[in-house]
Each structure stands twice: as structure tokens, then as C-alpha cells.
């Protein structure tokens, strides 16, 4: 079985990002970048399947500028076998990303795609579902468990009211939620070994994909900030304030 995982380069989850003063984007100069946390979980899940003997090869794909090779290298150090960088200057929109994935899935004859459910920068939560639509594959989104069973995959999904379990034919798309697994760290020897693993660099046009989008960002602004209120001295004062000042209880 061949697994495709997506690894998106995003600002590290611990960095407090701010809007640029001219409102054209976020100020990411010198910010620490990392693999999107949900993508890390996707990589880990694929590695576990390989370790369990149900997967043979893991291909890690990133879409973006040359520097995204750093995130592919991390995925290789963690245990992916090879990488593909689809080079784009700007961040591609989800539909374009899904089209790129579809082209790779067909070219590489992929059986299972594991992606993060969302990336912590754009917060879209779209790509997996879009790939599933374009390929007419089943989708197991927001997965908190995923298990290969007799040529199918059983996925438990985190839903608003609790949990739902579905059984999907392969090929299928799975998107990860936070509790699917806890990703490992790459060991130093594996980081060294990863340097020798191959990364193909291709263009969207090599895959016949047009990445233009009908979405235009007109501006980005900082939301109205909440300011700190008052400290109360006792539980009694808290109850009094909530009752008589805020009038919410």
C-alpha cells in the first residue's frame, strides 16, 4: 500500500502572529516555521501503518516555495520514504491544492491519502474533502482513530455530538484530528539519513494543474481586542459583579 501525506509549512503554533501594519498580510518576518501540527499527526499515522506492515511506501508532498523542502526533510527524517515539492510562489488556495493532489494520486497510484484536517494559518479545513470529491473517493475526516482492516479502512471521526465510525473502501482520504496520535520526534541519525532521501521538485504545470483562484483577499485586519477587566477579591464579589453589574446570572 502506498500512502501520500501532505506537509504544509506554517508558522509555529507557539508564535504569536500579528497583522502587518499595512493590512496586506501577517508579519511573518523571522517567525519560526514548522510543519503544520495536523500534518505532523498525518505523517505519524502513516509511519505507524508502515511499522505495522500494512503500508510499503510513504510519499510526503508539500506545495509552496523552495523553503518547504525543510518540512519535507522533517517528514523524511520521521520516516517518510521520499518527497515531492510542488513549487508555487504564493500559497495556493485549497481547490488548487486538491487538484495538485489528485494529479499526484493518479500518477503515483496512491491507495491512501492522510492529511491534516486544517492548517493553523488559513484555518480552512477543506483540502481533504475536496480531493475526495475530485477523485470520487470516500472521506474519513477529523479522524481520532484509523485502522486498516481487510483492504478497507475503519475511521472514527470526532463530530460535534461525540464520535462517528465509518468503514471506507480504499483508496480513501483521511484527515487527522489532534487526538489521532502523538507524533514522535526525529532522531539525529534519522535526520542525517533523511538528507539522502530523494525529493522531486515539480511545477503545477507539470501536473497539468492551473492554480489560479477566483478568491481575492481585499484586506487583513486585527480583530477588536478585548481588554482586561477587573480582579475581584473573593468569590462573593465575583457573584455580586456577575449578578448586579454584568447581569448575566
Amino acid at each position: 500500500m502506498k500512502i501520500l501525506v501532505g506537509v504544509k509549512r506554517v508558522v509555529d503554533a507557539n508564535v504569536k502572529v500579528r497583522v502587518k501594519s499595512d493590512g496586506t498580510g501577517m508579519d511573518l518576518a523571522n517567525a519560526k516555521m514548522a510543519i503544520n501540527p495536523f500534518c505532523e499527526i498525518a505523517v505519524e499515522e502513516a509511519i505507524r501503518m508502515k511499522e505495522a506492515g500494512v503500508a510499503d511506501e510513504i510519499i510526503a508532498v508539500s506545495i509552496g516555495p523552495q523553503v518547504c523542502q525543510e518540512q519535507i526533510r522533517t517528514a523524511l527524517a520521521l520516516g517518510s520514504d521520499r518527497g515531492i515539492l510542488v513549487e508555487t510562489e504564493d500559497q495556493a488556495e485549497p481547490l488548487a491544492v486538491a487538484k495538485i493532489f489528485k494529479a499526484i494520486i493518479e500518477k503515483e497510484e496512491i491507495n491512501l491519502v492522510i492529511l491534516g484536517k486544517l492548517s493553523i494559518d488559513t484555518d480552512n479545513n477543506q483540502v481533504g474533502q475536496m480531493i475526495a470529491a475530485l477523485c470520487n473517493y470516500p472521506q474519513g475526516t477529523f479522524a481520532c482513530s484509523a485502522e486498516i482492516k481487510e483492504g478497507k479502512i475503519e475511521v472514527s471521526r470526532e463530530i460535534d455530538g461525540g464520535e462517528q465510525t465509518v468503514l471506507l473502501d480504499l483508496p480513501a482520504i483521511v484527515t487527522t484530528d489532534l487526538r489521532l496520535n502523538e507524533p514522535r520526534y526525529a532522531s539525529l541519525p534519522n535526520i542525517m539519513k533523511a538528507k539522502k532521501k530523494p525529493i522531486d521538485i515539480i511545477q503545477p504545470s507539470d501536473l497539468g494543474v492551473d492554480i489560479s483562484s477566483n478568491l481575492k483577499t481585499l484586506g487583513i485586519e486585527t480583530p477588536a481586542e478585548r481588554s482586561a477587566g477587573v480582579k475581584v477579591e473573593s468569590v462573593a464579589e465575583l457573584v455580586d459583579k456577575l449578578r448586579n453589574e454584568a447581569k448575566v446570572i
Binding site: D121, Q126, E163, N214, L215, T222, G229, K231, L242, I249
Partner: protein, 310 residues
């Protein structure tokens, strides 16, 4: 042309998120249709028809929609979406699972989690866990949008829309529904509660949530949690509030033993009033709390319960 709202329901009643999606749709245009896909779901179509401003309810009642799997419902929504200018659904796990699939079938973009309608083609949505708001314009022929439920009021009832049945069905053999475990609680639902009291890692274990429950009972409040509390197994995952959990905006949000990480704030900072109980006076939660109490929660919660009894 009209706007299509995809109803969320459990085959017997309409979920509250649909009311918010309908009122977002009404801000875009006046002609709003609602699509109900389900099995033995007549009651849902009837309640959707009572929403003020809804012109027509399209009711697809078919065994293949029993669990509303995206694989079956997306082709249906895409088919009816073609004759609409916009397709909307609540940004719940159901809506997020479905609408990107619909958008890709229509070969258009999807805009996630809108919090404001600027015009029929321009919308505002949070990015970077709510650290920024992006204004996005779409030139697609059909705009597919998920709606942040806390940003739009509930649509009122009192309407009398027509119900039109369709036998459009999509059998999907490649996805099989195996089961669902839904939390049952006598308390209000997190996303529609007017008071929420949430516990974090500071609660130390699941049993201590009883302390929160006792206060919640006095207030008629729902109970929420931080990711740390869910990850530690104190409470089930559907309690999680935050960037990757539920987005809530009650009249009162009480954060107990929660530090106030940005990902948690992303889910609750639009609450009208925020109160926090934390023993660390430097905890970031105090920077956004209207009322902060620096105290040990194991002392404060029983006291709170007692004072609320009086």
C-alpha cells in the same frame, strides 16, 4: 436566483446552526431556500418551512441520506446548488465535512467560517486562530460558504414556505456507516448555551469535574473544557472549546483552571462576559477576562456553588 442553505438535523429536529446559516443567507439576499436531506425526516422539512424568510424547502427523503454522509449528500447539494447563487451551511463538523466536497464538485472555492457578510460576494473570516480577520472576495459563479454560528442571530420562526420533494438519491457503496456514540447530557448544548463553565488542566482529573457540574446545575450552564483537559481524558472530546474544538459565544463564559492559550481563546473570546478563576495571577486568561479571581479552584468552586444556592 436564490440562496441555498443546507439544513443540519438528526432526521427528527433541525439543529440550531441552521438558524444561524439562514440568517446569514438573509443578509446576502432575500430569496432563501433550504435543502433537507435525510431519511424519515419530514418533521425537519416542516420546521425548516417555518423559518421566517425561507421561500422553499427542498426535501430529499431517501434511505441513502439516513446518516447524511458527505459522499451521498454532496452530489445532491451540488446538483441543486447549480441553480443557486450561494450555498451555505453552518460551520459545524457536519457542514465542514460536507461543503468543501460540494464546492469541489462545482469547481468553485469554498469560504470557511464567515463571521460577516460585506456584500453578496465579499465576506469576512477569521484566520490564524482568530488573530486576524481576512476580507475575501469571490468571483466564482456560485459561492459556497460555511457560517460561524456565533456570528449570526437565529432566524425567527413564523414563516410558511412550500415544501418540494425530490427523489434525487445517491447510493454510495464505498462508505459504510458503522456507528455513532453521542454524548447524552441533560445540560444545554455547548454551542447554544447562554452560560458555559469550562475546566482545564487545573481540574487535575475527571472526577473533579463534579465541582463544575454542581455550579453548572445552579446556573443552568453547559460544561466545556480546554484541549489539555480533553487530552488528559477528564472529559469527552466534544467538550473541547477552541480553534479545533467548538466555537462558543455565550452571555457568560467561566474559565476555571484554564491558562488562556491562544487556541483556547479562539473558541471563546467573543463571549459577552468572561470570568476566570486561576491560581496564577499571571495566567494569560486574565488579560481578556472581565472578572478575574486569583484563587485555588478547589476552594473557589464549592464556595461559588454555595453562594449560588442562596
Amino acid at each position: 436566483m436564490a440562496i441555498l442553505v443546507v439544513a443540519e438535523h438528526d432526521n427528527s429536529s433541525l439543529k440550531s446552526g441552521t438558524l444561524n446559516a439562514v440568517s446569514a443567507a438573509q443578509q446576502i439576499g432575500s430569496d432563501v431556500n433550504v435543502l433537507v436531506a435525510g431519511s424519515n425526516s419530514r418533521a425537519v422539512a416542516v420546521s425548516a418551512a417555518q423559518l421566517t424568510g425561507v421561500v422553499k424547502v427542498i426535501h430529499a427523503d431517501n434511505a441513502c441520506y439516513e446518516h447524511q454522509l458527505a459522499e451521498s449528500v454532496a452530489p445532491l447539494v451540488a446538483e441543486f446548488g447549480k441553480s443557486h447563487t450561494h450555498v451555505l451551511a453552518a460551520a459545524t463538523t457536519t457542514g465542514k465535512n460536507l461543503l468543501p466536497r460540494v464546492a469541489a464538485l462545482l469547481d468553485v472555492a469554498q469560504i470557511s467560517d464567515i463571521v460577516e457578510v460585506k456584500s453578496e460576494d465579499t465576506f469576512v473570516r477569521p484566520i490564524y486562530a482568530g488573530n486576524a480577520l481576512a476580507t475575501v472576495q469571490s468571483s466564482d459563479s456560485i459561492k459556497v460558504l460555511t457560517v460561524r454560528t456565533t456570528a449570526f442571530a437565529d432566524a425567527a420562526t413564523g414563516g410558511e414556505a412550500i415544501i418540494e420533494d425530490t427523489d434525487f438519491g445517491v447510493e454510495q457503496a464505498s462508505t459504510k456507516f458503522l456507528g455513532e456514540t453521542l454524548s447524552v447530557s441533560a445540560r444545554p448544548e455547548l454551542t447554544s448555551a447562554s452560560i458555559i463553565i469550562s475546566g482545564g488542566r487545573g481540574m487535575q482529573d475527571g472526577e473533579n469535574f463534579v465541582l463544575l457540574e454542581k455550579v453548572a446545575d445552579k446556573l443552568g450552564a453547559a460544561i466545556g473544557a480546554s484541549r489539555a483537559a480533553v487530552d488528559a481524558g477528564f472529559v469527552p472530546n466534544d467538550y473541547q472549546v477552541g480553534q479545533t474544538g467548538k466555537i462558543v459565544a455565550p452571555d457568560l463564559y467561566v474559565a476555571v483552571g484554564i491558562s488562556g492559550a491562544i487556541q483556547h481563546l479562539a473558541g471563546m473570546k467573543d463571549s459577552k462576559v468572561i470570568a476566570a478563576i486561576n491560581k496564577d495571577e499571571e495566567a494569560p486568561i486574565f488579560q481578556i477576562a472581565d472578572y478575574g479571581l486569583v484563587a485555588d479552584l478547589f476552594k473557589a468552586l464549592p464556595e461559588l456553588e454555595e453562594l449560588l444556592t442562596e
